[in-house]
Structures are given as C-alpha cells and as structure tokens.
C-alpha cells in the first residue's frame, strides 16, 4: 500500500477489542492505554467490545469517557479524533451474551442517589460495527504504525477479514495482532477462545500479519495487584475502573492480566519485557483449547514470562493503569480549509 502523509510519525496506534463486560483485565487495558497516551508512547485509536452486548458497550463507553483526556487519534491520528467516543460492537446477538459480570459497576450511585456513571449508549444504534470501526481507524494510520490487541472472543475482529479489500489494508497498516487468549504452548480451554471457537480458528488461520499470543499462563504470572486499586486511585472520588474491579470479585484479589501484557508488548515490543517463542502455528481445538506447533515459516509466536522482568513490569503496570486522564490538547479545525 502506498505510504502517504507527513514523514513525522505519531506514536503507535492501538486498536483495542476486548470483552469489557466479562474480563476485568480488558478494562484495565483501557486504563493502561491511557497511561501510555499520557506519556505519548502510544495512542488508543479505537475501542470495541468483542461480544454483541449493549451492556458491555456501555461499560466501554463509561470507561472511555472517563479517560477521554485527548482525542483517541492524537497528533497525526487523523480520523481518530473524529470518531472519538464511538464504541465498536459486533453485529448480531448471541443468546445470553448480554449479561456481563461488570454491568454492576454501572449501577454505582453517588451519595445523592444519582448514577455515578452514565453512558450515551442506549442500544446498538449508538455503536459502530466493530470491524468497520477498526478498519476505518486503521486506514488513518501510517503504514506499519498500528497494532491490534484482542482481549476477548474473536467474534467481531474476525469480520474485518470479510471486508472488501481488507487483506492488503490490514497488512499495510497493522504491524502485529496481539491476542490475549488461549494457553501456550498448550493448555486447558480458555473462555475467550471457547466462546467462539469458529471465529478464533478463522482468525489464527487467515489473519495476514504476524500474531503474538498471550496465554492465561502469562496473565496468571503477572496479575494486576488488588492493593493498587485501594491506594493508587485516590485522585478521583469516583472511578469506573475501581468500581468495576471491586464488582468483579470480592476484594482483595489480584486480577490475572494477560490483556495488560498484550498491550505492553504491542506498545513496547523491543524492550525485553517478555521473551518470545520461536515462530510456529497456533491451532484451535474443538473444545476451545489452543495448541502451538513450531514452524520456521510460522507467523505466530507466544509471549513467555521472564521472571527477571517481573518487578519492572509490575511497577509499569500500576503506574500506567492508575495514571489520571491524559491532558487534552487544544482542538483546531484539523484539516479544514
């Protein structure tokens, strides 16, 4: 694809597609991307939920609105600023899918009894088809200057592959797809894969760019500390992430966080936070388990935890996740004549 635009590139753009209704680490990942945005190390170019669930989209909307410190596209992000606030969600309905665990967080009330958080989303019409949203936002990025992080079922993301001319567009714009799902090199069935085996299978088989998988073993080895929730968010009297974390499980607990590892790798792949497996191919079994088979020409790898990096990573996790909303730069007409 022809490279256009100015030579100065903004930081890498991250499209986050996550199961925000059912995975607390996906919610934490939104906060972490805000932290990287504040440090101008990355930009969240799109946010979508990976299940057709309006309640999940509302959670995403509330969290995104809380962190809306600067346009998602950021400097040079093009369309990002224009689609600011638009949440992606796959088309269709899956029976029983609209009952996310984290919806309870939305019912938090203030001392005077009014809802602490309100979402502008009242139905699917207030959201965008996630595949279209991600495709549109990718097209606004410099070649090779975007990555996609999937922290949930592949239900929505896989539909990009069906869009007209999408193959070359994804290959040109997206450097890597980081999938926070499965267990590697092999393991028990994992919930995100299991909930849509066909989509996961198609994604690993047909996605045109390299894929790096982050298994449950990484999330379990590097959980987000519950103690941070109690002490690092006092800068805001009401915080949707804090309420979601507390609603997810009885406190205290440390949340497995493969989505955070996925974001960290997508933003800083060359800073040795993790080890990478040799190349190979990931296959998805009927029961929702994943299996990695080494192959010299394989496009897939998986992350391996390096114990020596644990303290460094945990310190970065808490600093990035608990960062206040990034300051909002002045807004011009941007492109108007």
């Amino acid at each position: 694809m022809q490279q256009r635009g100015p030579a100065v590139r903004p930081p890498i753009g991250i499209a986050l597609d996550g199961d925000l209704g059912n995975r607390i680490d996906a919610v934490l990942a939104v906060a972490m991307l805000n932290g990287f945005t504040a440090k101008t190390e990355a930009r969240r170019i799109s946010l979508s939920v990976s299940r057709p669930s309006v309640a999940s989209a509302q959670i995403a909307d509330v969290v995104a609105a809380f962190y809306r410190g600067r346009p998602m596209g950021g400097a040079g992000g093009g369309v990002g600023a224009i689609t600011e606030g638009v949440i992606g969600m796959p088309d269709g309905s899956v029976p029983g899918s609209d009952s996310p665990v984290l919806a309870a967080a939305l019912s938090t009330k203030t001392s005077d009894g009014t809802p602490a958080y309100t979402s502008a989303i009242t139905g699917s019409v207030n959201t965008a088809e996630s595949a279209v949203l991600i495709r549109n936002l990718l097209l606004a990025q410099h070649d090779g200057n975007a990555a996609i992080v999937l922290a949930g079922p592949a239900t929505g993301l896989v539909r990009i592959l069906g869009l007209y001319r999408s193959g070359p567009q994804i290959s040109a714009k997206c450097k890597v797809l980081v999938v926070a799902a499965g267990s590697f090199p092999a393991g028990q069935p994992e919930a995100s894969i299991k909930s849509d085996v066909a989509a996961a299978r198609k994604l690993f088989a047909e996605w045109p760019t390299p894929i790096v998988a982050v298994g449950t073993e990484v999330g379990a080895a590097l959980p987000y500390p519950g103690a941070s929730i109690d002490k690092d968010f006092s800068w805001s009297p009401a915080h949707p992430l804090v309420d979601a974390y507390r609603a997810f499980k009885p406190m205290p607990y440390d949340a497995p966080a493969s989505a955070l590892a996925a974001v960290l790798h997508a933003v800083h792949p060359d800073e040795d936070y993790f080890k990478l497996s040799d190349p190979g191919t990931i296959s998805v079994q009927d029961d929702g388990s994943t299996r990695f088979t080494p192959a010299v020409d394989g496009k897939h790898r998986y992350l391996i935890v390096d114990p020596a990096q644990k303290d460094r990573i945990m310190s970065l996790y808490t600093a990035m996740v608990s960062a206040p909303p990034a300051p909002r730069p002045g807004r011009g007409r941007g492109g108007a004549i």
Binding site: P6, G78, V125, Y164, I337
Partner: protein
Amino acid sequence: MIITGKAVPRRTFLKGVGATVALPFLDSMVPAFAAAPKAPVRLAFLYVPNGIDMKNWNVPQEGALPAELPRILKPLEAFRDDMIQIGNLTNNSGRALLDGPGDHGRCAGSYLTGVQVKKTTVDIKASVSCDQIIANKIGHETRFASLELGMDDSRQAGDCDSGYSCAYTNNLSWRSETQPLPPVLDPRVLFERLFGTGVILSPEDMDRRARYRRSILDFVTGDTKKLQSSLGPTDRRKLEEYLSSIREVERQLEKAEKESVQINPGMDKPYGVPPDFAEHFKLMSDMLTIAFQADMTRVSTFLMTREGTSRSYREIGIADGHHPCTHHQGKQELIDKVIQINEYHAKQVAGWLGNLKSIKEGDCSLLDNCMIVYGAGLSDGNRHLHDDLPTLLIGRGGNHFKPGRRVIYRKETPMSNFHLTLMDRMGVPMENFGDASGHLDPASLT
C-alpha cells in the same frame, strides 16, 4: 386505464427536422388485454455542498416522521409520506486518512465512488461511481445511459481545494478511475441534448437561432397530429400536458437567455444560464422530470452547486459566500445564514418533487417510481465531519420502499452500503462497492 385495440410502441418518438421528442408512458402503449408493464425505477442523486446544519435537519427519533419537521425540512413537509430520512451513513473515504486538508475535494470525489481519491491536480484518480455502474448495465434501454446536471462551475482542471483537482469538486459521476463526467450546466445545452439532434451550437449560433426560433414542438407537428388521432381522450390529455411542459421549459429558457444578456450575475456563467438560482434549478429539474417521464434516462446526478462553493445567495439576502458561512465557528449570525441557504435549497427541491408527484404513471405517480437521494458529502460543514451524512431517500422506488420514516443505522455505516442497496433496486446487484461492509438491512427500508 383505457385499453385500446392497437398499442403504440413504447419507443415512439415525435420527429421533425432537428428535433426528436420522446413520449411519456401512455395507456395506449399497453397492448389490449395485456398486463400493464411495470414502470421503470429512476434514480437521481441530488447533491448540495458544504454540509447542512444538522441540528435543523435531523429528526431526533427513529420511526414515523413527525407532523412538524425540523426547520430545514419544512419546505418538504408536503412530501413527508414520500421520504425516508436516513441517519448515520458515513463516508470514511472522504476523511483525511493522512492526506491532510481538502475535505471538500475528497468528500465530493468519493461520494458516489466510495474510494479515497488521489490528492493531485494533475493525474486524477477515483473509481467508477455507482450511478455509472448502473448506467453501464441498464443504460442501453434508454436514449441516454445517464444524465449529469449541475449549476455552478464546470472547471475540470486546477486546484479547487488544498491540492485536490477541480475534477473532484465539480463532478459526481465517474465513468472510469480517471474520467469524470462533467455535468451540463447550461439549460439550453441540456434542452438541445434532450430534444435536438445532438449538435451543440455555439453561443452565436444559438443567438441567431433564437431570433428566428420557433418551438421545438413546431417541428414535430406532423407526427404529433398523427399520434393524437390514434389516442383515446385520456392519453390525448396526457400528451397535451407533456408537450405543454416542454413548451413551458422553452419559454423559461427564452426568458432566461434574454435576462442573461441583460443581467450580470457577478460571476462567469455559460450562455443562457439564468442568473437566478431558483430559475436555473427549475429549468434543469423540469427537464430532468421530462427525461424521467419519457424514459429518456433512468439515472441522473445533479450537483446543485459544487462542493466548497463560495456562491452567495443575494436573492435571499445573503451576500456572504456559502463556504465561508459554514465555517461559522459557532457564531449564530453565520449559522443562521447557513440554515437559510439549506432551507432555500430544500424549497427548490420541493418544487421539483411536486412536479414529479403530479405526473401520473399508471396507478401511481412518477415520484413513486423514483429514488431521489437528496443529501451532502459532509454533515457539519464547520468541522468537516464525514459521518451521519444528511441523506433523504425520496420516492418509493417502484412501490418498494416504505417512506414517511426516519431510519437510523449504526454509527460508521458506510455510505457505500446504501449505494449497494440502491444498485440492487435498479436491477444491478453487486457484492462489493467502495468501502461497503455489506448491504443495508433490506427490512429497514421496506
């Protein structure tokens, strides 16, 4: 309907020296005891530039259109039951996508092509527009595969917007990736094309001819009389009304040509273009009505004014240019002017729709057999937004659509999805087009 024993062929023309007049659909064209043929569906894209004031355009809720429409749509209230207001269509290809400034050039060039046009003033590149895809498939069935009309600026070269060629802002239809189809701006040229021999006369020749001009109908008197004698009373009346509408266009043209000599409109205009916007629009739209009525074409694009135009509207007391007004930066005085211009455009459209609705075609009206897409390539002209594009679908597309409603799609729904749906209805089904992600849900519009 009166069924006569002998059918008049559908492709009958009234011919004379230098004149060819196609006929509207007549009852006598139906063979005795045969089922009435289905009237063809016609498609027109009617485009206004610089966005629209969306606060005064959008009906807030989905469902039946309310009795009182938003201010800009008020002139169209008589057509509430003929139109669907569509929400949330997006033209992503009109956005910068790293190409920097030039939203006007991009949004017009991509409006019917669905692709990101090449930023250049030299080696232009877009794609075949959806109207031309349709024209290529069904155009052989009519005298003109398509008609491209405009009213503003015919420049095809030069920089019209931050490095975008005027070919993008001044055309809607593209025959190929590199070949736009410039709109006809001059009503006389359009008239000659519809009823003449196809030879476009120079201004001097036109002037000379005008001095000795007789009505084009005078040249086809022989054929007219012959045809009239074979028609029943209903068809005779229908034919007389149709020929009167052609004569009325001629009168308007003659008047406009006289005025264009006497009045300096303050801008370069081709010979014979009326200085008054409303008059110009009426002439062009009246001729498009005749072209649709006589099945001379089934596909048209109509660029009311070119994208990015700074045309002023002194006739309604607005001396400022349209484009500068749209960059109002929140100043109410300028916003009011934008709304006035938007209303003024809608008022002209209402006149045309009334015309289409007054013409009977079998058991329904010509408008019922049309799909008129009235809209813009930008929503908020101040911020140059390319989502929630103002879009009205007017007409029933041959008893297919159920109008009188507002339909809101999901955010970022590609405009190209709508184009795929229209192509389907025109009998040209396509799997992919532009940046489409699929067809619009058929149940949503029917």
